[in-house]
């Protein structure tokens, strides 16, 4: 069952351009096109806060208005490119039917978190993981409402960069982070 696209989602211009649904033979053009697909998939899942893309349920591959759709092989190509670019991860690398969408790249989240910590004076003090995604201070930041899994990954990166240290808390949400 393909999900229906809510009316609120605004499709980009190129979604109604028929060649968008044919993988271009000319490499330079193909690069541009795959970039457009990456952008579309990412924005769709981020705006609608969908965490996982299930290949055969995703409504993006077909545009009934212009009577065009991607073939199975073409969908694979697009998804492989998407995962290679670091915006998604296969939950089942063997069968490749479900893809976890990383709304933000962990590296980007990491630098965002650290910048926020520095500008809000959290250096050398502690805050919890809960505060990061649902605290009052994080209004408007890119990691607000982010998936915990994602946050952990970002924090892992910061740890390896030596910019923070993690402490175990009572619950996983209360794990403490100390920034340096």
């Amino acid at each position: 069952m393909t999900a229906t696209i809510p009316d609120s989602f605004k499709f980009p211009d190129f979604y109604n351009f028929p060649p968008f649904f044919t993988i271009q033979p000319v490499l330079a053009t193909r690069e541009k096109q795959l970039g457009q697909w990456r952008e579309l998939i990412l924005r769709y899942h981020t705006d609608l806060k969908i965490k996982t893309l299930v290949l055969h349920e995703c409504p993006l591959w077909k545009n009934p208005k212009i009577e065009r759709e991607l073939t199975g092989d073409e969908i694979r190509l697009v998804m492989d490119d998407f995962v290679t670019s670091g915006h998604g991860e296969w939950e089942d690398p063997q069968t490749r039917t479900r893809c976890r969408i990383l709304w933000r790249k962990p590296e980007q989240l990491a630098s965002d978190i650290y910048d926020w910590a520095v500008s809000n004076g959290y250096v050398n003090s502690v805050c919890t993981v809960f505060e990061l995604h649902s605290g009052e201070d994080v209004n408007g930041m890119s990691f607000q409402g982010a998936d915990e899994e994602l946050l952990r990954r970002a924090l892992g990166i910061l740890e390896s960069q030596g910019k923070c240290a993690l402490f175990r808390g009572d619950t996983s949400s209360e794990d403490g982070i100390k920034f340096f």
Partner: protein, 314 residues
């Protein structure tokens, strides 16, 4: 050693010592005076320009120089007349320039803010060789500053073209450039009191002409009824242009798209020629492929307009 006198030096050939020459002689004198100097071999291998002092006394006032003085007198007169007409022409042009400067001063505001007025003004300047567009110091540069306006505009136009290159292969409609710039709310130093800058599609075309002088490959080209800007240096030959004309004129089933069949039908080419042209346009990134089942359609992003997307039946 007595040097035999040649006709050039013989007193009889000089009218100066004679009584007023008869018309017969005068005629010969004119003929002789207007001819070019004789070949050197006829003058005893002497240099043609013999100094008068080398002559016997009686000939001192004359000599070869005098013979050619006649010829010189006529060329001199001709030069004088040319100089006079040139001076007159220059005077006229200067007067016109002064008038033009006065006009520009009076209508400075309109020129800076009204695209239609500006276009007419430039039309006036062109035949006089006045180029108010050159952004240099000097009367025009300082007074109007339009040179700077066009310079700014051409930079922004170039930006838009370069940014869209990966999508349309380096060819874009002038109207699309204008839309993008308007959407961006691009402002120039010539914003008027409401802080809005007005420029027309003609202004954009003029600024592209300035750009093309830099040898950057920017140029305008007409496709069907649309004016396009090409920002890649590659040549677009006649075949390509004809195919794009077809797409622009909506002659292959839908606007902005062509098929091999459509091209062969409308232009009378054979299958190979049509295919080659389309493949080339595809290779340049100016056309994108749309494969529906076994059918192949070639769309031009530079001509495609969101609203006029008609269904191409598969």
């Amino acid at each position: 050693f007595s040097r035999p006198l040649s006709p050039f030096y013989h007193p009889s050939s000089y009218p100066y010592l004679r009584s007023p020459p008869s018309s017969f002689r005068f005629y010969f004198f004119m003929k002789w005076a207007l001819q070019s100097p004789p070949p050197a071999s006829r003058i005893f291998n002497h240099n043609i320009y013999i100094l008068p002092t080398q002559y016997p006394m009686s000939h001192r006032r004359r000599g070869v120089g005098a013979a050619r003085a006649g010829a010189k007198a006529y060329t001199k007169k001709a030069e004088e007349m040319n100089a006079v007409s040139l001076a007159r022409a220059m005077e006229t042009v200067e007067k016109l320039e002064v008038k033009l400067e006065g006009f520009a001063k009076t209508h400075k505001h309109e020129i800076q803010h009204d695209p239609a007025f500006r276009a007419k003004f430039l039309e006036m300047c062109a035949p006089l060789g006045v180029d108010p567009l050159s952004a240099e110091k000097g009367f025009w540069g300082n007074m109007l500053g339009i040179g700077e306006f066009y310079y700014e505009l051409s930079v922004k136009v170039a930006e838009v073209c370069l940014a869209s290159r990966s999508r349309n292969g380096g060819i874009i409609r002038v109207s699309e450039v204008k839309d993008i710039l308007t959407q961006r709310g691009t402002k120039f130093k010539f914003a008027d009191s409401k802080n809005k800058s007005s420029y027309s599609e003609e202004d954009i075309v003029t600024s592209v002409k300035k750009l093309s002088k830099l040898g950057s490959g920017f140029r305008t080209v007409e496709v069907g009824k649309s004016m396009m800007i090409v920002s890649v240096p590659e040549e677009l030959d006649d075949d390509h242009m004809k195919v794009m004309d077809l797409a622009e004129e909506n002659r292959c089933g839908a606007y902005g798209v062509v098929t091999v069949k459509g091209v062969t039908a409308e232009l009378g080419w054979d299958h190979d020629r049509a295919k080659r042209a389309l493949e080339l346009l595809l290779g340049k990134g100016m056309a994108w492929l749309d494969a529906v089942g076994a059918e192949k359609y070639y769309w031009f992003p530079s001509l495609w307009m969101q609203n006029s997307n008609e269904m191409v039946s598969s």
